[in-house]
């Protein structure tokens, strides 16, 4: 069987994993929270976009409305809920976002139900052909967004004052406050960036995999695999891992024996990677911290 087309098709789903994974790592690095609500916030924004389109809004306006909603939701949580959990351990802080995700999921279910919908963009109809598989412009945009945000955010975190503050905050909140870092403001900025990111990701995923509340909300689970492969640290490796996982998953389609189990590949890859790295002493310090 010719497996090259599957590699190309894996770029689509890989882009989705990469985007979500980068979003998770970004917030984890800046505020020490693994955001289980990332998918739900994005999905909620995408639903708003979909509804706005239904009211006859132009695509650009509808997209802005969707991203704006995602920003509002993200900042709302970051401003009012997250600080109340700031002094608990990372697990509890992360589980808090799970609560938020469930509320959003329930509200989406109540408002819109589980009817199959999909956001469509003009770029869906344009495609380039590689090895007998086509890659639409929307998918290429998704990959480009992932790549450019990885670069942009890496620079932001590594080179700017804001990035420094964010890193300080995630390391030690009390000391950062003592040093005069405006804790709440910096944190809010982190949640704002995450909101934008979730919104854009939601809009792309609502096209790539469809606008389904439950599926988009729990897309974070395979995305966590990409984040783990990036060591919860590196945006670059998370993005690479996301694309790699997507390609592997698609590639396995070519092998009928394992094809039914191929959607387990994000988890299997992450587990193997953790099993290998967790027992390498050089990585010990980073993981146990």
């Amino acid at each position: 069987m010719n497996w090259l087309p599957f590699v190309v098709s894996g770029l689509g789903i890989g882009g989705a994993y990469a985007l979500a994974g980068v979003g998770l790592v970004l917030l984890y690095r800046t505020s020490g929270v693994l955001n289980f609500a990332f998918g739900a916030v994005g999905a909620f924004g995408a639903f708003i976009t979909f509804a706005s389109l239904g009211f006859g809004a132009p695509l650009a306006v509808a997209a802005l409305a969707g991203i704006g909603t995602s920003i509002l939701l993200s900042c709302g949580y970051g401003r009012f809920i997250a600080p109340t959990l700031a002094y608990r351990n990372t697990v509890i802080r992360s589980v808090g976002t799970l609560g938020f995700a469930l509320i959003l999921l329930g509200v989406m279910g109540l408002l819109w139900g589980e009817i199959p919908r999909r956001l469509q963009y003009p770029t869906d109809k344009m495609a380039l052909s590689f090895f007998g598989a086509r890659l639409t412009y929307t998918r290429m945009i998704a990959l480009a967004v992932a790549a450019s945000t990885v670069i942009g955010l890496t620079i932001l975190i590594a080179r700017t004052r804001l990035g420094l503050n964010m890193r300080a905050l995630s390391d030690n909140r009390d000391l950062s406050a003592l040093l005069g870092i405006p804790v709440l403001k910096v944190e809010l900025l982190a949640w704002l960036i995450i909101g934008i990111f979730a919104g854009v990701t939601g809009l792309l995923l609502a096209n790539l995999v469809g606008l389904k509340a439950f599926q988009l909300t729990f897309l974070v689970v395979p995305a966590i695999a990409a984040a783990l492969l990036g060591g919860m640290q590196s945006l670059f490796w998370t993005a690479i891992a996301g694309v790699g996982i997507g390609i592997t998953e698609a590639f396995l389609t070519a092998f009928p024996l394992v094809a039914p189990y191929r959607s387990a590949s994000p988890f299997a890859i992450a587990l193997v990677a953790v099993a290998v790295t967790a027992f390498l002493p050089s990585l010990q310090k980073r993981i146990s911290s």
């Binding site: 010719n2 894996g10 239904g54 139900g113 999909r118 469809g210 599926q215």
Partner: protein, 420 residues
Amino acid sequence: MQRPLLFAGAAIVGGLAFSAQAAAAEDISCGLSNGQVASGEPIVLGAIVGKTGPDDFSASAMAADAYFECVNANGGINGRPIRYIIGDDQWNPEVAAQLAAKIVQDENAVAMVGNSSFVECAANAKLYADSNIVAVSGVGVPRECFSASNIAPTNAGPRISSTAAAEFAGEQLGAKNIVCIGPNIPNVGAWSCEGVVKWGEANGVTANTILIDPGSLDATSVVLQAASFGADSVVLGLPKGIMLPILTAAEEQGFDQTMNWLSAASGYDTTVPGTLGAVWEGKFYVNMEFNPLDSEESDNRNWLAVMDKYAEPENPRDTFAQAGYLAARVVTDALLSLDPADINRDSVTAALSRVDNFQSDILCATWYVGAEQPRQNANHTTRMAVTAGDTWKTVTDCRPSEDVELADIIAYEKEAGIAN
């Protein structure tokens, strides 16, 4: 982008319903049709549907509910009203079993009507058998819904529906190499596609099966896999939420131009042609287990009129709703045949197992409950339709399925003299 189309779809159906009602305002028919509100001791009926979960399967019970409300407003069951309890199994067999305990054991329902669920039949078949209660299901999906003596769905089921689509592909579209795509859900996907493969073997058509994880996000690989089999036609046996991304991926890959795309009845939904868009015009075929939704025949018009008067506007007027309406009609007819003072589970079960000649223009053929039969699958004659603008166009007449698994059913029909 899709919402206006969705509204448009609803408006078309709504418009039809209005015209139908205008014509049928006086002769809207349900139960005794005497216009008197029933007020006696209620008769309890129940339904278990999968509402919350991957897809909303509650339309069947909503339609049955509308019909029963109509019956209650029109003399009830010889004066006794129907109390209809609907449970949401959330696609979880554990919940389905709990709901069955509630409806069958606590509420003492005399029959189950309009069930439609992926999990319910398997979870509750034994309880129904032990409690001597008949379930006139609306939409049976997994094999267990078609393999119990006292579960009698009004629909044909995914296996017959998929096989019928393959038969159409082979006979009308000249398919020589078919791929059947089903969910890897036990007793659903493999069972449905087996019908397609067996039909292919018997008719010299190559047929392969692809089973997919319903949770998988990667639809493109699935269509590429279908292409790698060299398929000229693809039969989808998937819930519409999983089916649409596959069609979209097919379109992205340009396979809408090079292959025939067909679906079991799960694809027959008013919103699908609009959601797919103009590219798919005349290219996507679906099997219909019932008469077209906009059919002008009398029982179908009566269904729409009942929905219009007694259901909420947001309740779907889809093929599932037709199934639920039929189930409600079957049970109402059976209840009306009994002495209203002597309606209990045993008498209702006996009355339902006497149903051997139920007629409706929504169905292609006679519907019945096979008395003492180990399994029920009365509906196995179906039609095909194709996308046409924002709606569907029927392209074939009623045609009985050639599925080999129906041998026992056909033999029984011959023996019992049921003309199908």
